[in-house]
């Protein structure tokens, strides 16, 4: 049986809890914390009760227990860090991940900040402590892109990787193209549906997509980049007329993130793309094409966000660790 501690009980954390309740995965949660409270219980936390408390608007646990306490004191094999991303400092998640790795615990995270900012350091720390650091959920939600590149495409040289990395922008552009909406109208609609934050800057200025490129570049392509290295243009200035001009030529416009390792290209920008292109996906979907020397071109399409979808990636990482390191140890 594998014991995990979960930091963060928002959409992703609750998605993981629901999946653990619904499936018999031989995983017990011994620590749990949200931003206001925590629970430590070596015998296994009652996830249904914690979910009910949270969904009634309360904290999931006791006010006296902090996330730091859970990281330092709970008995767990894997720390599951699923708090919101801070792209500037990566904190407080970064500190918690370091602490867990130092304690010799595996870490699975959906948090882009620590991986984008400190991947080489964290990987070295994990190696030094003989544990794994997994982060499938940081890029493209449910799409197992990182696993595919690390395992399935191991041995390939990647000449280019590009695609739709942000569902919010893709939704806005889809709606502008389909209905002739202005950017502001499409953004308002995305907000109403919960696809865009009150402050959409992080999505619409291409920061989110840029951070994902940095993660892929650093973790999978052995580049040493930061968000400042990403040439970045958002979608806020796009006009319905521009989409119509593209449409006139059977094309559309999508926000594309692109990495060309050999040419030093690391770029997020709106691009004209034929409507029949496999990367032209609808709504909040994500799509990524990988150009590999042995495998050729591969395109992955799937949900880039969502509670169950992100939980899928986290649980995939957990079971990977379970099958290799925890069972029978």
């Amino acid at each position: 049986m594998m014991r995990i501690a979960i930091l963060g009980f928002g959409s992703v954390g609750r998605g993981i809890a629901r999946a653990l309740l619904a499936k018999d995965l031989d995983i017990t949660v011994t620590g749990l914390a949200d931003s206001r409270s925590g629970i430590i219980d070596a015998g296994g936390i009652d996830l249904a009760a914690a979910l009910a408390k949270k969904e009634n608007g309360g904290p999931c646990g006791n006010a006296g227990v902090s996330p730091g306490d859970v990281v330092a004191k709970a008995e767990y094999d894997v720390l599951v860090e699923v708090t919101p991303t801070n792209v500037e400092t990566g904190e407080p998640a970064l500190g918690h991940i370091r602490e867990a790795l130092r304690r010799g615990r595996h870490v699975v995270t959906s948090n882009k900040g620590p991986i984008a900012l400190a991947y080489p350091e964290l990987r070295a720390l994990a190696e030094a402590n003989g544990v794994l650091l997994k982060y499938e959920a940081t890029v493209c939600g449910a799409i197992p892109l990182i696993h595919a590149m690390q395992e399935g495409l191991a041995g390939n040289t990647i000449s280019r990787l590009y695609g739709v990395f942000n569902g919010t922008c893709n939704y806005i552009l889809t709606r502008m193209a389909a209905e002739g909406l202005t950017y502001e109208q499409a953004l308002a609609e995305a907000r109403d549906l919960g696809y865009a934050e009150a402050d959409p800057t992080y999505d619409v200025e291409g920061i989110d997509a840029g951070v994902k490129l940095v993660i892929l570049a650093n973790a999978l392509l052995d580049l040493h980049t930061t968000l400042d290295d990403v040439e970045r243009t958002g979608i806020t200035l796009l006009s319905p007329e521009a989409l119509q001009l593209a449409e006139d030529q059977d094309c559309t416009i999508r926000l594309i993130g692109e990495i060309i390792p050999g040419a030093g290209v690391l770029r997020v920008s709106p691009r004209i793309i034929p409507k029949i292109h496999p990367l032209v996906v609808e709504g909040t979907l994500n799509a990524v094409t990988v150009e590999a020397d042995l495998a050729g071109d591969l395109t992955f399409i799937g949900k880039g966000a969502g509670s169950a979808e992100t939980a899928s990636a986290v649980i995939g990482d957990l079971l990977y660790i379970q099958s290799r390191h925890v069972k029978g140890s």
Partner: protein, 162 residues
């Protein structure tokens, strides 16, 4: 170009050799017997890229090989790229923007569709550039990007296949 040569083994290879000798790049070779062709001759159409100014040299080499050139069709601006610009295109002197590309001599704006939704609102344009080579196209797009930065315009480039 359309070539006529003797229908003998080795003739086609002999005809193609001079092309690489002058630094040309063969894109396609179409070779079919036509009824109008004399029985002992072979008609071949070749699509190729040549560096500027090498054509006379190539024709001379063909003549030495006994290959006669029936017809030459020249397309100078082989490469095409369509982009979209958004911003205050008229107020920032659209003809100057176009002129900066045309002035290169190796790339030209060949088509422009402009939509101006309202006075003082940003306009959108689709602009087609043609150029002699791929490198010149890259250069033209770089120029356009630099001009756009200066004039606070948004340039949307196509997603090209590598």
């Amino acid at each position: 170009m359309k070539l006529e040569m003797k229908d003998q083994p080795g003739q086609l290879v002999a005809a193609l050799k001079p092309i690489s000798a002058v630094g040309g790049n063969i894109i396609a070779v179409i070779h079919q017997r036509e009824t109008s062709t004399p029985a002992e001759a072979l008609d071949v159409q070749i699509v190729l890229e040549l560096p500027e100014g090498r054509l006379p040299n190539l024709l001379e080499l063909f003549r030495e090989q006994g290959v006669s050139v029936v017809r030459i069709g020249e397309e100078r601006l082989l490469y095409e790229c369509t982009l979209i610009m958004i911003g205050h295109l008229m107020h920032t002197d659209l003809s100057d923007t176009v002129d900066q590309i045309d002035r290169t001599g190796s790339a030209e704006v060949t088509e422009l569709s402009l939509v101006m939704p309202a006075i003082d609102a940003p306009s959108s344009a689709r602009i087609t550039i043609r150029s002699t080579t791929r490198a010149e196209m890259k250069r033209a797009i770089r120029i356009l990007s630099a001009v756009a930065k200066q004039k606070d315009l948004l340039i949307i480039e196509p997603l090209e296949d590598a």
